[in-house]
Symmetry: C2
Subunit: 192 residues, 2 copies
DNA sequence: CCCTCCATGTGACTGAGTTACATCAACTAG
DNA sequence: CTAGTTGATGTAACTCAGTCACATGGAGGG
């Protein structure tokens, strides 16, 4: 764990998760996290813009996964098919090893308003990215917005059941299932 | 503006908006805001839990407006009608004097990531409140979630055009119009 | 006129986040 | 093998948000 050991970000993530679990998020100082990772506070803030970002490293990959999946969808594909591609792109970012981390993270988020707020921002960022791509395809701001909301909601619902399930099920079909059930609920209300 | 002058919260709000406009959000210190309002930092933090909350005083009223409107909707009313009641409840919280404040606030929010994050949390809180009420009525988590998203999106879209419009139009019909157009876009995708 | 209540003020403290400058491992060139 | 360069890390001092214990002063009641 000396000065030039690799994966400083990963070490900080593990140290943060441990300490937050032991003491709670607010009671843990950035100095403690840095020390357990074998670093100093300054390096922590060089690698993450603030304390919360340690836990939100994955946001960029999720947005990239969704936007690239939409780009790969065939030209002329109908809106619901492109939306399925988007949520598939989100789900496929996760590996089964991340499930364990997620099981630690979810209760942690629930424990701190500061983290919940950052989580809401993350969700909003993902939704806005999908909305942007859908708008470029279909040139309808309202359609892009509501579909993005449905997609993100389905992704989060699928993720929650992935985390909660005792078995190591694959995430993608869970998300597809949620998307199907959410759209079915809407169809029922707006039928006719 | 002496020690016991009334409406300390309102004075702080006005001072904050002025200073944020003059210097930017991050460059303005809580001491400056308190001083312009004729108070001290300590009092500011007694009235608001943090710097951003000065600008987000209205959140509780919005949530109350939406939830009470849903409660007032007739028993047995269909889901789309209850959703209309919810967004009406949101829109009716605003008075036409608030329009001017909103015109100052919107560009301010765009200027600071910290404020955008808080705004995302506010939007999420409103959506969760509506979702909760709809779930109690219709006992369907997915339906409650997607409808809440659509309602909040329509409210924000209507609010944006209210702020942008040169005339002082009433907000409620703008929000109703947005809700109708959002649901129409969905109907078109999920038709048949 | 005094007493109590409560909003406000004072001053000191913790911890997040920033910055300028120093250090040290690794790599590269000669 | 050595010297210079590069980039990640460390040191130390700073600003400011947010907290807290305690002091003060205006308003209203007896």
């Amino acid at each position: 764990m000396a000065r030039w050991d690799p994966d400083a970000r990963g070490r900080l993530l593990r140290a943060a998760i441990e300490l937050f679990a032991e003491q709670g998020y607010e009671a843990t100082t950035t100095a403690q996290i840095a020390e357990r990772a074998g670093l100093t506070r300054t390096t922590l803030f060089r690698l993450f813009s603030d304390k919360r970002e340690i836990l939100f490293q994955g946001q960029g990959a999720l947005i990239a996964g969704a936007t690239e999946a939409i780009h790969r969808a065939p030209a002329g594909a109908p809106a619901d098919e492109v939306l399925t591609a988007a949520v598939t792109g989100l789900a496929d970012v996760h590996t089964s090893e991340q499930r364990e981390t997620g099981q630690l993270l979810v209760p942690l988020m629930a424990s701190s308003p500061e983290l919940q707020e950052r989580a809401a921002f993350k969700r909003d960022a993902i939704a806005r990215a999908i909305e942007h791509e859908l708008f470029e395809r279909f040139d309808d701001r309202r359609l892009a917005g509501v579909l993005a909301d449905i997609g993100v909601r389905s992704y989060y619902a699928g993720y929650a059941s992935w985390i909660a399930s005792p078995d190591d099920l694959p995430l993608t079909p869970l998300v597809h299932q949620e998307l199907a059930e959410h759209t079915a609920a809407l169809r029922h209300v707006f039928a006719g």
